[in-house]
Amino acid sequence: MDCEKKIILSVENLCKYFPIYSKGFFAKISGYVKAVDDVSFDLFEGETIGLVGESGCGKTTAARTILRALTPTSGKIILKTNGISVDLADLSESHLKALRPKMQMIFQDPFSSLNPRMTIGNIVGEPLIIHKMAKKREMLDKVKQILVRVGLSSEHLNRYPHAFSGGQRQRIGIARALIMNPSLIIADEAVSALDVSVQAQVLNLLMDLQKEFNLTYIFVSHNLGVVRYICNRVAVMYAGKIVEIASTEKLFENPLHPYTQMLLSAIPHPDPDIKLVVKQAGEIADITSLPDGCKFYPRCSFRSSDCLCNSMQLKKIDDDHFVACPLKS
């Protein structure tokens, strides 16, 4: 479907392992937590991809590693802007700085993501100062423009974050991310902390901005209702791996991976006539002790002994539907 579209980001075999230290004075590395394990996907310009999964599945780590807030253990993160491809994975900090304006992040917690000691003007205008893109006067003009664009007033310039509600703060965070005209924005649970009506406002705003500035979003969320609404494609993560990636329609209508099926069946629908039928039970995986083969094996009701030999490679089912389950290919 999106084959002719331009690829803006391609993630190849991305891994992020956190060392586990043994206890004691001379702490030695006794193992690794594979928070992100061999994740690959392409991102097309102007689309929204959803990254979903339960808590601890590695979706936030993946997002932060892609933006190089964390240094990846291995793999490639190739960002293509203005016809140039750069691998972010092994870029030095000074080179990264030049690329920072192209990719930005919107955070989950609207309270901790804004520095309480800075005025809104300084928070939103900071990127311009860092990258020497504007002088003070010019900066304030630009900040005013962008504040109005995200639905705040230019009078808010001299206020401090504590004077704003959660929804307003999230708008400020969006303004800060937008001011440098990025092409890629990662929204890490950007609407999860907001009330329903405010969440709707912010979702509308994000969609409007996407059209206006041709933005590409990676939308990290555990809220499948929101993901279904806003995303073109969805990647389902489990224990650091992508288990299924497909266009939103295909994923929600025809989920193939047993985990995706279980996840979707668990959503309580706001229509009382659609009854909740939970497919399977089971606990969230303990990421420190997983089986060698399919990570979902302990919770899966379709499992067979072959599954423990399966390496969880994504297999193509359809043009835009990939699944990492041997039983479904």
């Binding site: 700085k97 990719m103 000691r117 990258h131």
Partner: protein
């Protein structure tokens, strides 16, 4: 409408303004702050405020008890003069108030000459007796007939300033070392933290003993004063360094620090522009809490004769005079510096409390 405008005014108030307005609500802290200001002013203008010089002796009036000032319309402010009775057997002096003979006190009286800040010569004192023949002791006299009140006022200079100078050194050491420890992390952090533990586990008094033994006897009192300050701060920075390290470690994980990093901000900018302002209030609180520690440190050192020594006057040195039980039992006014020490330490603690409550950005 008024509610609205109030809201707007709060909205544009910076963190510091908010802290100030919240601090003002903490009654006890504000009162303490006021008293401390008075105390420091008194210390600064000691020459003028104290009726006598701290070393002015009058051996016949040793251990004169406090004379209570009285007021009436005829005489104004006055004290009764003291009659000395010497027990013929024990040679012990007893003082009796002679109600027939009064000593008038007057403000801006002429007294002993002094040079204010080494600049202005004067002989005016805030209050005193114009007639130089007589003496009065509002808070009593010590063994040599020196005025306790004057000595407390002069002693405040040393005792109060040692805390301030001490925390300046503490501040520099604590921020630098704690900052390095917090931001560098890894091996450097580990090394600094273990060193702090070693410093903290060194028994304080033997160390002080050793140190004071090393100090040459012929050093000027000023030199000794600075050495003691340095010693106190060299042991006192560890607490602050830990506060700074802990704060940097926790704030570094805050989303706004990550956000600044993703915007391309340099490490220096993140530390100074984003992290440091986030806990300056904590540093101030921690420093306010350190001052009384310093004051107590000086006092206990001097009391034991390890710190400052006469002729320097400090509260600790003054307490050194009441080391034996009989003095304390017979002349309890020698213990009056203790009252001032307690008062000062309490004031600092209340202010620290008030600041801590006020600086929490999420309480309202």
């Amino acid at each position: 409408m008024t509610k609205q405008s109030q809201n707007t005014s709060v909205a544009t108030k910076s963190q510091w303004q908010l802290i100030r307005s919240r601090f003002m609500r903490h009654k006890l802290a504000v009162i303490s702050f006021f008293f401390l200001q008075v105390l420091y002013l008194v210390a600064v203008f000691a020459e003028f405020i104290s009726p006598y010089s701290p070393s002015q002796q009058e051996i016949e009036r040793s251990y004169c008890p406090p004379q209570i000032p009285r007021l009436n319309s005829k005489n104004g402010l006055y004290v009764y003069s003291m009659q000395i009775v010497i027990d013929p057997v024990t040679f012990r002096k007893t003082y009796n108030e002679n109600k027939d003979q009064i000593i008038k006190l007057s403000f801006f009286a002429h007294g002993s000459k002094y040079k204010m800040f080494g600049l202005f010569k004067s002989d005016r004192h805030l209050f005193g007796i114009n007639n130089n023949e007589n003496r009065f002791y509002l808070l009593g006299a010590d063994k040599y007939g020196r005025d306790i009140l004057s000595r407390i006022i002069y002693g405040a200079r040393i005792s109060l300033s040692i805390g301030i100078i001490g925390i300046i050194i503490t501040f520099v050491l604590g921020i630098t070392i704690g900052g390095i420890s917090g931001y560098a992390s890894g091996k450097i952090d580990n090394f600094i933290q273990r060193s702090i533990e070693v410093i903290n586990s060194v028994p304080k008094f033997p160390l002080w003993l050793a140190f004071s033994a090393v100090l040459p006897d012929d050093w000027s009192s000023l030199k000794i004063y600075f050495c003691i300050t340095l010693l106190l701060s060299l042991l006192g920075w560890t607490g602050l360094a830990r506060v700074v390290r802990g704060k940097i470690l926790s704030l570094r994980e805050e989303d706004y620090a990550v956000a600044a990093y993703l915007l391309g901000a340099s490490r220096r900018r993140i530390i100074f522009k984003h992290l440091l302002p986030g806990f300056t209030s904590h540093i101030i609180v921690s420093l306010t809490m350190t001052v009384p520690w310093m004051i107590l440190g000086e006092t206990s050192l001097s009391f034991l004769g390890l710190g400052l020594r006469p002729p320097i006057v400090s509260w600790g040195v003054m307490l050194g005079d009441c080391m034996n039980m009989t003095t304390v039992a017979n002349y309890p006014w020698l213990l009056l510096p203790v009252v001032f020490i307690i008062f000062t330490v309490l004031c600092f603690n209340f202010i620290g409390d008030g600041l801590r409550d006020a600086s929490d950005p999420y309480s309202l």
